[in-house]
């Protein structure tokens, strides 16, 4: 019996025929002398959960506010569903926003907050009631409907803000640091709740965040931004495993970066990083490299095996001294200084009890990793 073919993964960005919901075309935004967003091109597809990730001041919030209509681009065009939205004021856009501060109306009850947009749209009483109740159920707020915003907890407020912004059934929902005000545990639960609600409603979500974990968890694609530019736009997995620059590699997760030079180039490349040391052998992953080019070799700590002797199956092995150990219970991070001077971080899972006491400070250890473990970056 043949098993059913697995449903195609959701990846409209790989489909040349797919119509984007939003298209940024050469968008630049300046505030006086300061360029917040610079010549940006980006497509976001329907039903995507798209994350804009970057440090504060990188232009991600400006990008979102241009989508909401609170800022207009200095140059370039933003297309929403084939329409240039520059002349459309915020109250006429099929876009709703969930504000970082939630911006709940303090003088209105939870119920009236959610009904606010529906009433402005001139919906009749019965429609408003039905829709508000649907939203209350969706966000599990039924028993708080009559409360005022100051009478509910932070997590509940966050859900009211979400319900209010979803009530009008927007084509696009913008979320500005939606979970920033919640504590860590609640934030994690809410991330899954958000994904669940996004799936149920089929709305396109664009989320702005500076928390890389959050972006990785919720998003179908992540755009890493820096100084008004997009550094990389890709799925969380690609962003993590094949960053296209040192900046992206460093911004997402932990990484050790070794500076070197392409010593030999074939199907695999050899990266010489120190006088007299064996070059690092690595797959190039299709990156355009030239012999002699100076490059950066980036490797994630969890890809490195720490042992008393070189790992027999791994092609790269170097010796070093443990400088620092971070014991986190489930894992331990080792900061190892190679004999050639570089600092490399390695992560080992503490699969057995007291596994962490294998090595201690100033121990000599071998670090081993495979040819697939790291990436070669030109910039």
């Amino acid at each position: 019996m043949e098993s059913k073919p697995a449903p195609a993964p959701f990846a409209p960005w790989e489909d040349a025929a797919a119509h984007p919901l939003i298209r940024f075309e050469g968008v630049t935004k300046r505030f006086g002398d300061f360029t917040a967003v610079s010549d940006l091109n980006l497509k976001i597809y329907p039903r995507e959960f798209f994350a804009l990730l970057g440090p504060s001041g990188c232009g991600k919030t400006t990008l979102m506010r241009m989508l909401a209509g609170f800022e207009t681009p200095t140059e370039g065009t933003i297309w929403l569903d084939g329409q240039n939205i520059a002349p459309v004021p915020p109250n006429k856009r099929p876009v709703n926003m969930m504000f970082q501060s939630y911006a709940l109306f303090p003088h209105l009850s939870v119920w009236d907050n959610i009904a606010f947009g529906l009433r402005r749209a001139g919906k009749d009483k019965e429609t408003v009631r039905a829709r508000v109740e649907e939203m209350l159920r969706l966000t599990r707020l039924d028993q708080f409907a009559r409360r005022k915003p100051h009478q509910i907890s932070g997590g509940q407020r966050q859900r009211v803000a979400l319900a209010r912004s979803l009530a009008l059934g927007p084509k696009l929902l913008l979320l500005d640091e939606p979970l920033g005000a919640l504590d860590k545990k609640l934030r994690q639960d809410t991330q899954f709740e958000l994904m669940d609600i996004q799936e149920k409603t089929g709305t396109t979500f664009v989320i702005v965040t500076h928390d890389q974990e959050e972006a990785m968890t919720v998003a179908s694609r992540v755009a890493v931004m820096d100084a008004g530019r997009l550094c990389q736009v890709d799925t969380p997995q690609h962003i993590y495993e094949t960053p296209n620059s040192r900046y992206v590699a460093d911004f997402i997760g932990e990484v050790s970066i070794i500076e070197g030079r392409v010593a030999a180039l074939g199907e695999e490349a050899e990266i010489a990083y120190a006088e007299g040391a064996r070059p690092i052998v690595t797959r190039t992953g299709g990156a355009a490299l030239e012999p002699g080019q100076s490059v950066f070799y980036a490797i994630r700590p969890e890809k490195i095996w720490v042992g008393a002797a070189p790992h027999p199956d791994r092609i790269n092995s170097v010796e070093g001294t443990i400088v620092d150990i971070g014991y986190l219970g489930d894992v331990s991070t080792y900061h190892v200084r190679l004999d050639t001077g570089q600092m490399v971080k390695a992560l080992m899972t503490n699969a057995e009890r007291y596994a962490a006491s294998r090595f201690t400070w100033n121990d000599r250890v071998w670090l081993s990793w495979s040819r697939h473990a790291g990436v070669v970056l030109a910039s």
């Binding site: 609170f70 109250n91 709703n96 926003m97 504000f99 947009g117 100051h150």
Partner: protein, 271 residues
Amino acid sequence: MKRSMSVFNMTTLTLGLAFLYLPMLLLMVYSFNASRLVTVWAGFSTQWYGELLRNQQFLDAAWVTLRVAVVSSTLATVLGTMAAWVLVRERRFLGRTLFSGMIYAPLVMPEVITGLSLLLLFIAIGLDRGILTIILAHTTFAMCYVSVVVSSRLVTFDRSLEEAALDLGCSPMQAFGHVTLPIIAPAVVSGWLLAFTLSLDDLVIASFTSGPSSTTLPIKIFSSMRLGVSPEINALSTILISIVAVGVVVAALVSKRQIARRETEEREGLT
């Protein structure tokens, strides 16, 4: 904790209160004096209150004052709120600094100058002095106070609330009416009350801008004082003091109850 106050604290408190309220207390006591002579006590009587109610001039003046105060404080509240709005919201526009300076200048301007300049203006444009001119004059100087009160509230107002209203389909005007105004309402109301009391007890500006047909109560009291202190004035002042005292106590009780209600609501909200 020691419940009883030290002798020193007790003395300061008594002296302080006496300093503030003894004159008024004296005035209130003498308003019940049976004698026409203000400084000689001749037994308890409420006759001056009766006289007051039969004194058409005082009643007319009171009625003028009330109308002026209500209309001018309402106008001042509308204008002052608009000015505050523009100053807080529009960070940059041509002449902003000048405008903001000019809004607050009347706060420190001597009243005599404000009154005199208004008088000259009214004469220049040929406006007969009467209730209308007093209303205009009071609106002019009270709107600065309203604008100060309202703008201090607007400064702390979360801008994203308005953006949220716009985002949910409000036009800028609707956003103001549905969201901003209800939230800043307490500041607007206290601005109105401030303008109302300022108008109620203004003597200087009113005496420049009033006409023969429109004497306000402060002018009336002041001018009858020149003919000597009459027990009727004492009675009138006592009534005014009582009205103000009742107003203050009611306002305090209302706000206290509101705070208490909010606190219980918050407690309930946490469970």
